[in-house]
């Protein structure tokens, strides 16, 4: 069974020979290859080379592009600042009106977004169908928050709801354009990143009334390409789990604050789960024994019968020791 087959079966709640493992290796892979985050996020050859070396070293079942939430906002016109040690950050936000333009679907495919699309193309050419090739794409709420500022979006949620809804509608179509570009370049799946949909920021009512239908449209869009749709939420999103289970994505990737077995009780078999070893402390600082134990515990509790992909709760920090990543990947119990 190839990694891609393993992931596809797990996503459909079909038994697999072992639990698939799919850590988000981007930043760690760049560090391993001796290149800066900035270089990896600006050069598809460098990024693909780093990720392929990490695939060779760890043999995961899926590989994803670098996590860079500044790519779409930068394409939309926000000012960003580069750093050698982390992804670019938005240092000057746009006015909300900028996201009400009619050409977002075209504009969002500019700047560094093509770097990630080309990275997907290179990964797919090298890996074929042996390993799932996944692209990371900012979701509409997160793209809005990073482009115009999270505080602006939070205030609009209460004071300019219709304008925000209009903005999210346009950004959903723009995110679909990015997803299409990745899928047409050969991605087997697209992970939509919505860290701003975490419970503290977006309550369950706001999720249902403002974002859920748009996430569903994105999931359906990815499915039209026969792609695997993954939705990633950071932080503690327990209050929103019932809504997220109805997002129509194949996989819900969750961060370490959520107890995955409890999440399974809530979402049942409506959506496969992915995660969620702690990337803040356990993976970069824990002992290999602790990591193996935590990974095997998750794999045993959630893995039988499919519906689960072992991963970190977010992208692995660059400084994560290689032995720790190895322990995580090797803990894939049958």
């Amino acid at each position: 069974m190839t990694g891609l087959e393993r992931v596809r079966r797990a996503v459909r709640f079909q038994p697999t020979d072992r639990v698939p493992v799919a850590p988000l290796l981007g930043a760690h892979a760049a560090a391993l290859a001796g290149i800066t985050y900035e270089a990896a996020s600006a050069d598809p050859t460098a990024q693909a080379h780093a990720l392929l070396r990490a695939v060779e070293r760890y043999r995961p079942d899926a590989v994803f592009t670098l996590m860079d939430l500044s790519a779409e906002p930068e394409a939309l016109g926000a000012e960003v600042t580069a750093s050698a040690t982390r992804s670019r950050i938005v240092t000057r936000h746009l006015a909300p009106e900028a996201l009400l333009a009619d050409d977002l679907e075209r504009v969002i495919l500019t700047a560094r977004v093509p770097v990630f699309v080309d990275t997907v193309r290179l990964l797919r050419a090298a890996l074929g169908d042996t390993v799932m090739v996944g692209a990371l794409v900012s979701g509409p709420l997160t793209a809005a928050a990073n482009a115009v500022g999270i505080e602006t979006v939070a205030r609009m949620l209460r004071r300019q709801r219709e304008k925000l809804a209009d903005m999210l509608e346009r950004l959903t179509k723009a995110c679909m354009a990015v997803a299409s570009a990745h899928l047409e370049a050969g991605a087997h799946g697209v992970m939509v990143l919505e860290p701003c949909a975490t419970s503290g920021i977006l309550g369950p009512d706001d999720l249902s009334s403002l974002l859920l239908a748009r996430l569903q449209a994105l999931a359906e869009h990815i499915r039209r390409y026969d792609g695997i749709g993954l939705l990633h939420i950071c932080g503690d999103c327990r209050a929103s789990l019932p809504g997220l289970a109805d997002s129509r994505f194949d996989v819900l990737s969750l961060d370490a604050p959520v107890d995955l077995p409890q999440a399974r009780e809530v979402v049942k078999h409506r959506i496969a789960l992915m995660g969620n070893l702690d990337v803040r402390h356990l993976l970069p600082r824990g002992t290999p024994e602790c990591i193996q134990e935590a990974a095997m515990l998750l794999a045993r509790e959630l893995g039988s019968g499919g519906g689960y992909i072992l991963s970190g709760g977010c992208e692995l920090p660059p400084e994560t020791p290689m032995e720790n990543v190895r322990q995580m990947v090797q803990a894939r119990v049958a």
């Binding site: 982390r86 505080e151 205030r155 209460r158 920021i201 309550g203 803040r280």
Partner: protein, 223 residues
């Protein structure tokens, strides 16, 4: 019900509803009828305290807290000139900022307002603040506490650098360190030697109060 109690109730309700104009108007009317500025700040503190508890229970969310903070600041702008004439006692002085390399100010801004509402004198040091700037500002403002926020794992080590700098400059006994932000945990706070940790805005306020109380204990180190 007296005008004063009606107006304080209206002020609290306006803050809780995120009604900036209503909060400013109620604060203004209270001062006009001769209420002491501390009556206004007391009402603001009660409203923000209740909101903090609701936020902690996930009964309300960041957008609700943010517009309430806007209303709080609108009312404070009205009462501040009067406060300068009859200064209220402060629970303590805090320099707060987002650590170097990080520009995510939402959490810091909410904590800043909650601390001010609870009676602390808060100096906002802004975003992308390096370790030396935190320590220099603490010295300049005679701060009791340095409060730091980080949203990214890649930036939170600045917190450790601040603790180290306080030690190397012989200031560790004079300034307490409070940390928070999405990637920060109690375990991390222990690891770097911080004195307090707040998982959210209301916990940050509780932690700041604990630090000030511990500090004022007889024999507590404040050299």
């Amino acid at each position: 019900m007296s005008d004063r109690s009606t107006l304080t109730a209206a002020l609290e309700a306006a803050v809780e509803a995120g009604d900036e104009a209503g909060a400013a108007s109620a604060a203004s009317r209270l001062l006009e009828i001769g209420a002491a500025p501390t009556i206004v700040t007391g009402a603001l503190s009660r409203a923000m305290g209740r909101l903090g508890e609701q936020f902690h229970r996930l009964d309300i969310f960041v957008p609700d807290l943010l517009i309430a903070a806007d209303a709080f600041e609108a009312a404070m702008a009205v009462v501040e000139p009067a406060l300068r004439n009859s200064p209220r006692g402060s629970k303590g002085t805090i320099g707060i900022g987002v650590v170097e390399g990080d520009v995510h100010t939402l959490g810091k801004n909410l904590v800043r307002v909650m601390l001010a509402a609870d009676g602390f004198e808060v100096h906002d040091l802004g975003r992308d603040v390096n370790a030396a700037a935190f320590v220099d500002a603490a010295l300049e403002r005679r701060a009791d506490i340095i409060a730091m926020s980080a949203l990214m794992t890649t930036t939170m080590d600045c917190m450790k650098n601040v603790v180290g700098l306080l030690v190397s400059r012989g200031l560790r006994g004079r300034v307490r360190v409070l940390v928070g932000g999405a990637p920060v945990t109690q375990a991390y706070a222990y690891e770097i030697g911080a004195d307090g940790y707040g998982e959210d805005a209301s916990e940050a306020v509780a932690a700041a109060n604990r630090l000030m109380t511990m500090w004022q204990r007889p024999g507590a180190d404040r050299s």
